[in-house]
Symmetry: C2
Subunit: 179 residues, 2 copies
Amino acid sequence: MPPKPKILDRRLVAESHLFRIEQVDLEFANGSRRTYERIPGGADSVMIVPMLDAETVLLIREYGAGTDRYELGFPKGVVEPGEEPIAAANREIQEEIGYAARELRIIDRVSLVPGYIQHHSLIVLAQGLYAQRLPGDEPEPIEVVPWHLSNLDALLARDDFDEARSIAALFLAMRALRI
Amino acid sequence: MPPKPKILDRRLVAESHLFRIEQVDLEFANGSRRTYERIPGGADSVMIVPMLDAETVLLIREYGAGTDRYELGFPKGVVEPGEEPIAAANREIQEEIGYAARELRIIDRVSLVPGYIQHHSLIVLAQGLYAQRLPGDEPEPIEVVPWHLSNLDALLARDDFDEARSIAALFLAMRALRI
C-alpha cells in the first residue's frame, strides 16, 4: 500500500445548515494530483439491531428525506456530545421503538460513503428488550415492524428495505448471533 | 403507512462542483412541519462483486477522500449517460481490476443514506472473469486483493473493510451464490 496522498490544500467551498463541503487538493505518492470534494463529519452515529426474541428483529418504517419515501430499516441516531455510544443506542430505541435493552454491544463500525463522506456509524446489537419509552423529536409516530428471520428472503426482496447500512447490520447481527 | 409528507417548498441552499444541497419544507400527514436538507442525486451507480472462482472475490484497495485513508472494498463507479448498468459494471471492472466478465447480473439496488442522500447503487454479481483491461482515470494503480470466502471472519474483522455498501454486497452475493 503506498503512503497516503499528501493534502496540499483544503478549503470550505459550500455550507448549509447541516452540511459543509470541502475541496481537497491531493498529491498521490506517484506524483499525480487530484482535487476531490468531501463532506467532513463529526462523531460516529449509532444504528441498533433490536432483538425482540432470539429470531425476531424490530424494524422501523420512517420517512427518508433523501429518497422521498418511507423506508424500512433499523433505528439509528446521533451520539450526543458527552454521551457514550451504548447509552445513545439505548436512548434511541426508547425514543423510536419504545423498548430499552439489558444487553447492548457494538458489533462493527461502518463507513457510509468513504469516497466522499467522513462519517462512520457503530452497529449495536440490543438484546434483553423491555418496554420503556422516551419522548423523541420525530414529526410523526414511528411504525415498528417486527420481522422473524425465518422470513429473511421476503425482507431482502422488499423495495423499501434497501439501505446498505441496514442490510449490512442485519447480516452482521445474524453472524454475531450465529443465526 | 401514512401518505407521504407534502412538499411545501424546496430550494437550493448550497452548491459545489460535485454536490447540490436542497432544503425541503415538509408537512406530514398529521400536520407537523419540518425542514430537512437533502442531496438530490442523479442516476444509479454500480458496485460489482467480481468472483475470481466459486469462492474467491476480488477486492480493491483505494484511497477514500471522505475517510482520508485507504479502504478495502468492491469496485464501483457511475453509470455514464446512455450506458446500461450491466455495461457500466463490465467497464468498471476492466478499468479497476483488469478483468471483464461473461456473466453479470443485478442482485439488488441499495440506498446509501436515505435520510439525506437520494442516490442509489446497483449491486452487480460478476462471474466468468477473463483478463481484459481498459484504461481508467484513477490517480494511481489500484491494488487488487483476492479474498477467499473461507476467510470471511478475517475480512469482516479488518478495520479497512468497513463500507456498509461493500459489506452488504458481500453478504448479498454469498446469498445469491448459496455460499
